[in-house]
Symmetry: C2
DNA sequence: TATAAACTCTATTCTTAGAATAGAGTCAAG
DNA sequence: CTTGACTCTATTCTAAGAATAGAGTTTATA
């Protein structure tokens, strides 16, 4: 019976020589015999069966650790159980990837919204669909504070997102709410920030769909100014404000500068005159 | 302005201290200032924006390398292109996983076929659906050789599978074909082995669906014996053999022994009397 | 002010599944 | 006997940190 040198064995099985040496090192497949003098490895043709199985299980995405464990088990029914677990694992991975893909899509759309947005200060009437939000009350009125406070508030929200086991991918567009009662007096007072979420639960709130007056702005510090323009417009044209005012961060602009640059969209729900 | 120690910065952002140190090491995010005496790192609250972006892109499944590249680009439109590429990459990953899952499912079914198979030698009449195969002619009649030759033939098939860029996950149940003309003379002569494939192409062949006489056997060396029983049965009961004889390896049994142990299913297409 | 607790520093090792490399020794064909 | 092909061990590298040790620093409390 001819013995196969490591190179021949490798060529026969479409693997590299290093791979075979590595498999020996971790005890996954040991050569049939090793020359005591030279240390040369020699394989038997029958060992291909094991190598096939290793490669097959690798194709299924299993780790060499699992594969080794399987060989230790020596039970085919047990293997079916292992496959079941593995399928579950694959399923989870696929779902994770699907979430990522959806998030990437969402971000692209946000960039598109920025690129195609109307001029700064151009007021529009829009139909908005119902949205769900998860909000966090920081207990501080950020309209009276600077970017630092806002930053700390965002940290608080991030913390809550983690605690509530919400997907961090939703942390890309954040918003703030100014409640209707304060809005009536043009009192810029808000302590609440939020993220948009997909699934409802006991901690989420609903932003009603309907008609909104909106305006875009690329300077976070000029929010009040644009907010007032929006309210003036409503009054002049006879629109009645019927709900809470929202400031949505559509996208962060050059994420590169030393400070945040936010592209925001202000939104207030109205009833037509 | 208060400087944030590495621990505070980490806590504020739900990352570990090591992570921040690591990001500095690879130049992804450098602390605002480093004390020359003590080497203590201090961060500025505004740096949270960058950290948010890093974490967000990580959620999308991007590598720190890509993230760094993005920060170097400083262009939001370019980022949209990058997201498009990333979506394509995710899509491929999902497809790979789906293939793996299907293969795991297939293997489980094969195990099920083994577990629920009839006794060795029990002849059955079955309806089989059409199947596609990719076959390889080794140029050697394996009925005249031992397991070694069979093993070398399988290596040849594996080689062809690689060359033809067929999915290696299909390499788990292999089969051999004995053509009808040889079958008529009970001449066990075959040089062809194959794997089952899903997609047709110019190199694939079709095994017609229809009525088959089948028998299972857990000893590779007794194939001829069981094959003859199958043919005897056909003759005695008036079935006419109308196509090629197939020997399908359903599953490899204890993949653990020094030699292959194959559980095979012999199949011959017939016309009812 | 002294002390203890909490914090931070650098440096090293570990994780997967091999790939790449260097320098030395071995095998097979002509 | 030579030459080219092959093989050996050993080390380093990949990604994204986690874990650890041992030493030094800051902060809070007494």
């Amino acid at each position: 019976m001819t013995k196969l040198s490591i190179g021949k064995m490798a060529r026969l099985n479409q693997v590299t020589v290093q791979t075979l040496r590595y498999y020996e090192k971790i005890g996954l497949m040991v050569p049939d015999l090793v020359d005591g003098e030279t240390g040369y490895r020699y394989y038997h043709i029958n060992q291909c069966a094991r190598l096939d199985m290793i490669q097959y299980m690798k194709c299924l995405g299993m780790s060499l650790e699992s594969i080794k464990h399987h060989f230790d088990q020596r039970d085919i029914q047990e293997f079916s159980v292992m496959l079941e677990d593995h399928k579950t694992w694959i399923h989870k991975k696929i779902e994770e990837l699907a979430t990522m893909k959806a998030a990437a899509q969402q971000y692209q759309e946000n960039i598109g919204r920025y690129v195609n947005a109307p001029e700064n200060g151009e007021i529009q009437l829009e139909q908005m669909r119902e949205r769900r939000i998860f909000s966090y009350d920081a207990g501080v009125n950020f309209y009276e504070s600077g970017m630092d406070t806002w930053e700390y508030m965002i940290r608080g929200l991030k913390n809550q997102v983690t605690i509530a086991h919400l997907p961090m991918v939703k942390f890309c567009n954040v918003g703030s709410i100014l409640r209707k009662n304060n809005l009536a007096d043009r009192k810029y007072y808000s302590t609440e920030i939020f993220i948009f979420v997909d699934e409802p639960n006991e901690t989420t709130e609903i932003l009603p769909g309907g008609t909104y007056l909106t305006v875009h702005c690329d300077d976070f510090y000029r929010e009040k100014e644009f907010g007032n323009q929006l309210l003036d417009y409503a009054r002049v044209h006879g629109y009645e404000v019927i709900g809470d005012y929202i400031c949505e961060v559509v996208v962060e602009l050059p994420i590169f500068e030393e400070e945040r640059k936010l592209f925001i969209k202000l939104q207030v729900p109205v009833k037509r005159p």
